[in-house]
Symmetry: C2
Subunit: 201 residues, 2 copies
DNA sequence: AGTTGTTTCAAACGTTTGTTTTAAAAATAG
DNA sequence: CTATTTTTAAAACAAACGTTTGAAACAACT
C-alpha cells in the first residue's frame, strides 16, 4: 500500500489545519493524531508546508470541477446561471465542509499556498459572477444602477458567510435546524429579488 | 509617561495580530515593531495573551457603544431599525478597520478571549436583528415565510463579507473604487428589497 | 539631594519548534 | 528469494519560542 500513511496524514491534517491554522498545528501533534511517525511528514510531503499544500489541493478539487461546469453555462440566461452557481456553492460545501475555512484563512492571512492555489480559482469565480450580473443588467433582468463589483461581493457574501460561521453558530444563534440547502435557497431568493429590476425602472 | 509603550504596543500589535493571528506573531517581532523591549510585553500585559486581550477589548469598544444605541431603537419600525444597523456596521468598520478580522478569527478558531469578548457581544447583535426581522414579518413588511435565523445570517453576511475580503479584494477582483458606505447602501438595499413582502403574498 | 516606585534593557532560562539522521523492521514488487 | 520502497523508533540538531531575571535608567516627590 503506497498511499496509506499519505492519505491518513492528509485526512487527519485537514480538520486540524482548518480549525487552527498552519502555524499552530505542530508536526508531532499531527503525526500522533494520524498514528504515524514524525518523520513521515517530511518523507512524504517534504515538510509541513508540503502537507498543507496537499491538503489545500484536495480541498480545491470540487472547485476545479465546478469551474469546468461553469464554462458550459455561457448560453444560459443570467438568472439561471446565478441559480446554478448558488446550488454549486451548496454542493461544494457539502462535499468539502472545511473548504471555506481554508479559502478564508488564505484570503485574510495568505501563506505560500495563496499564489499557487487561491489566486488560481477565486478570480475565475468572481469573473463568472461579475459577467453574469452584467449580462443580466444588459438584458433588463436586473436593476440598471447596480454596481457590479459590489453586487458580486454581495452574492458571494450572502451565500458563503453562512458556511463560515456555521461551526460556531449553534453556540451563538437561536437557530433550530441547520439545512445548508434551505439556507442557500432562501438566501439566493432574497438576493435575486433584491437585484431584480422593479416596475418603476 | 506611563502609557507610552503600552499604547504603542497595542497600536503596533493590532494589525499584526489581525493579519497573522495570535500564534504566528512572536513577542520579539512585536517588540521590535513597536520599538520596545521584549520584556515590555510581559511587564505591561502579563504576557502575549494579555496583550492580545487588550487589543481585542479596544477593538470592541465601538461595538459596545453601538449596542447601547441599539437599545434605544425598540420603538422604531423594523425597517428603520435594520437600516440603522446597516449604517452602524459601516461606521464601526470605519472606526475599527481590523475589528472584523478579529471577530472572524475568533469565530473560526477561538482563543481564550472568545468566551470573554466574542460571546459577550455577538449574540446580542444577532438577537437584535432576529427580533427586528420577526417584528417586520408580524407587521406585514417582510415575507411571511421567512426563516428568521437564516435571514439574520444573510443580513450579517451580505453586509460583513465585504469587509472580510476587502484587504485582498483589490488583488482578486476587478473593482474600480472601494467605498464602504456605497457598498453598505447597495447591499442593504438588495437585502431589504429581497425580504419585502410582495403584492401576491 | 535623596528616596521611592516605575519602567527599560540585555542576557539568559527552559521548552518547543521543524527537520534530519541513524538504524532496524515491515511491506511490496519483480 | 531478492531488491526496493515504506514505516517505525529514538535521538539529535539548530533555531525560535514566551517568559524571567537583575541591574540600570528614569521619573516623581519630599
Amino acid at each position: 500500500m503506497e498511499k496509506d500513511t499519505r492519505t491518513k496524514l492528509i485526512d487527519t491534517a485537514t480538520p486540524l489545519f482548518a480549525d487552527n491554522g498552519l502555524a499552530v498545528v505542530s508536526v508531532r501533534e499531527l503525526a500522533q493524531a494520524a498514528g504515524a511517525n514524525v518523520a513521515a511528514v517530511s518523507y512524504h510531503f517534504g515538510g509541513k508546508e508540503g502537507l498543507y499544500h496537499a491538503v489545500l489541493e484536495y480541498q480545491f478539487e470540487p472547485i476545479a470541477a465546478a469551474l469546468e461546469r461553469i464554462k458550459t453555462m455561457s448560453t444560459l440566461p443570467p438568472v439561471e446561471r446565478l441559480s446554478h452557481y448558488a446550488s454549486l456553492v451548496a454542493g461544494v460545501h457539502h462535499q468539502r465542509p472545511y473548504l471555506l475555512r481554508f479559502v478564508h484563512s488564505e484570503l485574510t492571512s495568505p501563506t505560500a499556498a495563496f499564489e499557487a492555489v487561491i489566486k488560481k480559482y477565486i478570480p475565475r469565480i468572481f469573473h463568472f459572477l461579475h459577467q453574469s450580473l452584467a449580462e443580466g443588467v444588459a438584458a433588463g433582468d436586473f436593476r440598471p444602477g447596480l454596481d457590479l463589483g459590489f453586487a458580486t461581493i454581495s452574492l458571494a457574501g450572502i451565500l458563503n458567510f453562512y458556511f463560515i460561521v456555521r461551526p460556531m453558530a449553534s453556540q451563538l444563534l437561536p437557530i433550530n435546524e441547520f439545512s445548508d440547502e434551505r439556507y442557500v435557497n432562501q438566501a439566493f431568493a432574497i438576493y435575486l429579488d433584491g437585484i431584480r429590476r422593479k416596475d418603476n425602472e
